[in-house]
């Protein structure tokens, strides 16, 4: 990593002169340090996880690392009860976020961009959850979902149903409860991204659409939305990423103890196995590799698609 980009000592002396020794040192430092950091902090751990996923290790003594081949993977796919629910929940998370909070955020952005009264207040209110740390968001929703004293059950009781609903404890319900909390935050995020896009939108295009007799829906779907393609791509990437790395809010609402029935996610299973009193680093790494492959597949397909369209 330390060797500077060596310029060929042959004919083109003019190029060598353009990069003086100072420049070369500067480039080495500017490229070399981030490169070294990238290799060390990103690629080395990634490769180490990959390697460790074929071993068993308790994370304490290096001598205790034992090679087991594909055992971990075989175990995970055939004999790890929370695995398939976790995969399913990750997919649900992705679909939910992509289909509800994201379009809703776009919708809000579009409405708030129309210079209605108090628009700043609305914007602030909707964006506010994004300013809070996810842990705080978790606490807020914990209070709302509390079975005895929570806001939601209070309202239900006042409405006279008399039924206590165990929002976070019922395995059939808790994932959706968490998704609502996460969507609450995600909407604001998407709204602000889209608002930023709309601010840079050329109003002439809208006027042209209006002259052509397009109604509001047509203007949005045929003119505004396609024209904001760069923002749309960012939003899609953000949504996919947020869904796949979903962790913190589930962790907080689950009481900070990793996966709970009904709320299993791949990221939680990884921490379950790696962090804790008796850690199974190999097993957890194998799960992490599975998540990595899923993420690569999702992001990869998407990138290939975009790049291909761009080329056309």
């Amino acid at each position: 990593m330390s060797s500077a980009p060596v310029t060929p000592v042959t004919p083109k002396r003019s190029r060598a002169r353009r990069l003086g020794p100072g420049d070369r040192l500067f480039l080495t430092v500017v490229i070399g340090i981030p490169l070294a950091a990238l290799l060390f902090f990103v690629w080395l751990p990634a490769l180490a996880s990959l390697g460790l996923s074929f071993t068993t290790w308790d994370g304490i003594d290096l001598a205790d690392i034992h090679w087991t081949g594909l055992d971990n993977y075989q175990q995970i796919f055939t004999n790890y009860p929370p695995f398939w629910p976790a995969v399913r929940h990750n997919v649900i998370w992705l679909l939910f976020t992509a289909l509800l909070p994201t379009p809703f955020g776009i919708f809000l952005a579009y409405q708030l961009d129309r210079k209605i009264r108090f628009t700043r207040i609305y914007q602030t209110a909707i964006f506010l959850p994004m300013v809070l740390s996810l842990a705080v968001v978790g606490f807020i929703w914990e209070i709302i979902y509390n079975p005895d004293t929570g806001l939601l059950n209070g309202i239900l009781n006042a409405a006279g149903s008399g039924h206590h609903i165990d929002w976070l404890g019922n395995p059939d319900l808790n994932l959706w409860a968490v998704l609502v909390a996460s969507g609450w935050r995600h909407t604001g995020y998407i709204m602000i991204l889209y608002l930023a896009g709309l601010k840079g939108f050329d109003p002439a295009l809208k006027e042209a659409a209006a002259l052509d007799g397009a109604n509001g829906r047509q203007t949005f779907l045929r003119v505004v939305f396609p024209a904001l393609k760069p923002v749309n791509i960012i939003i899609l990437v953000v949504t996919v990423m947020e869904s796949l790395r979903a962790f913190d809010i589930v962790y907080v609402l689950g009481g900070g103890v990793g996966s709970k029935p009904g709320m299993e996610l791949l990221s939680l299973l990884i921490t379950d196995n790696i962090i804790g009193e008796s850690s199974h680093i190999g097993y957890g790494s194998a799960l992490a590799v599975v998540l990595l492959l899923v993420s690569l597949a999702a992001i990869g397909t998407f990138l290939v698609q975009t790049v291909r369209k761009e080329d056309q």
Partner: protein, 437 residues
């Protein structure tokens, strides 16, 4: 018998192994660099300071530990720097904590859970401390403080029994009788339900799913006896054994009487419903008392031992987890730390602690029990009369197995308590990952 002896899975490809090892060595070297530099100098190396890692983050234990360390500071002229971490987080990160730069002395639990770290050499032996404090402890306690190699690794501070707690006045008002046998227990629960109470207070939401293990342990101890329970906990018996199936069958009889929405409630809220007379009984530890702020209510709380199921086992086992302290593997101030541990093992420390937190029992027999309240006295008798003392499922077993396999399995089952054999099959299929038979 331990989960570490996995040699049968050992390397088939040394080449690949070396590559991984090398990669890891590199990573470890890099990670080690800042750790090593942190060791030299700084506040940690101050010979007048001992660092103390505490999991007592709730208000009462926090105050109580502060009282103990203050008493020590006055005694020894050493300063104690306490680093308090949330209880659950402390447990979760213990392994990384002990490998990093842990505090000199830290809070931990007796039994298998301590032995695991002793065996991993993540803590230091304390035989010289025990030479000085040993006189105060019973043989059973000594046994709990030893690692598998026979050396002492643990200084106990207190223990507390699990039992079925209730409010005396409620039982009087409604004319309930304390049940001795399983049938009476179920009948009482049925009656309470008829009377509009939640018969068994229950809250295992959030991070509190461990609390359901109290019922599981007792059902197993009463139905199958201590020896079977310990074999099950240490991974020596199949979880699909018909005796374990019987435990879930018994449990299923009880589940209709659990307080509803338990999966979303904390144990504190469940305990509060008992104090408020909204629920009739609670299977919980004496630490329930930490929830009490009104001394009048404390006097109204009583408990009975978990009812008998099999006559052969009676009520001979008591679940009484012991908490205490350990010494990290390379303490920065070893002399000071050992002085602190000596102090913590002495009667005076017990008295300072119980003075603030009267919901535990001193383990040191020389500690003055004169100021014990009625509940503490009764608890001490209960423990003293027990033929077997168990710790708690996550202390008698591999905690990873309990927290990632058993707990999710059982909590899920509690949501729909049908035939338990499917749940047990799932648990059993994971057992070999943690224990080698």
């Amino acid at each position: 018998m331990t989960q570490q002896s996995r040699d049968h899975l050992a390397a088939r490809g040394p080449g690949r192994r070396r590559v991984v090892g090398g990669l890891f060595g590199l990573g470890a070297a890099a990670l080690g660099a800042p750790v090593l530099s942190a060791c030299g100098g700084g506040a940690g190396a101050d010979p007048k300071t001992v660092t103390f890692g505490s999991n007592g983050a709730d208000a009462t234990p926090k105050k109580a530990y502060a009282a103990v360390t203050e008493a020590f500071a006055k005694d020894s002229r050493l300063k104690v720097k306490t680093n308090t971490v949330d209880h659950d987080t402390f447990q979760k990160s213990i392994s990384t904590y002990l490998q990093g730069t842990p505090d000199d002395v830290f809070t931990w639990f007796a039994g298998y859970r301590m032995q695991y770290f002793a065996q991993k050499k993540l803590c230091s032996p304390l035989d010289d401390v025990w030479d000085k404090i040993g006189a105060g402890f019973s043989d059973a306690t000594k046994q709990l403080s030893r690692g598998e190699d026979g050396k002492f690794y643990f200084v106990p501070l207190y223990n507390y029994p699990w039992a079925v707690f209730y409010r005396k006045s409620l039982f009087q008002e409604r004319g309930y009788q304390v049940p001795q046998k399983w049938g009476e227990f179920i009948a009482l629960a049925r009656q309470m339900k008829k009377d509009g109470l939640a018969p068994i207070a229950s809250g295992y939401g959030g991070g509190d799913s461990w609390s359901i293990l109290g019922a599981f342990d007792y059902l197993d101890l009463r139905a199958n006896g201590y020896d079977f329970h310990m074999s099950l906990m240490r991974g020596k018996v199949s979880w699909t054994d018909k005796r374990t199936v019987a435990v879930l069958d018994l449990w299923r009889e009880l589940t209709p009487y659990y307080q509803p929405s338990a999966g979303g409630r904390s144990w504190q809220d469940a305990a509060q419903s008992l104090l408020d007379k909204k629920s009739g009984m609670a299977v919980i530890g004496l630490f329930l008392g930490q929830q009490i702020t009104d001394e009048k209510i404390r006097a109204d709380i009583d408990f009975f031992p978990f009812p008998e199921i099999e006559a052969a086992h009676g009520q001979d086992a008591v679940e009484a987890p012991t908490d205490g302290f350990m010494l990290s593997r390379r303490p920065k101030n070893e002399d000071g730390a050992k002085k602190l541990l000596e102090f913590l093992g002495g009667a005076h420390a017990e008295e300072s602690y119980m003075g603030v937190d009267p919901s535990n029992l001193a383990v040191n027999e020389q500690a003055d029990t004169g100021s014990y309240n009625a509940l503490q006295k009764k608890s001490a008798d209960l423990i003293a009369s027990a033929r077997h003392i168990s710790q708690f499922a996550d202390r008698d077993s591999d905690p990873g197995f309990i927290s990632t396999v058993v707990l999710p399995g059982l909590t899920q089952w509690l949501g729909h308590p049908d035939d338990g054999s499917g749940t047990l099959k799932k648990i059993e299929s994971q057992r070999s990952r943690f224990f080698t038979a």
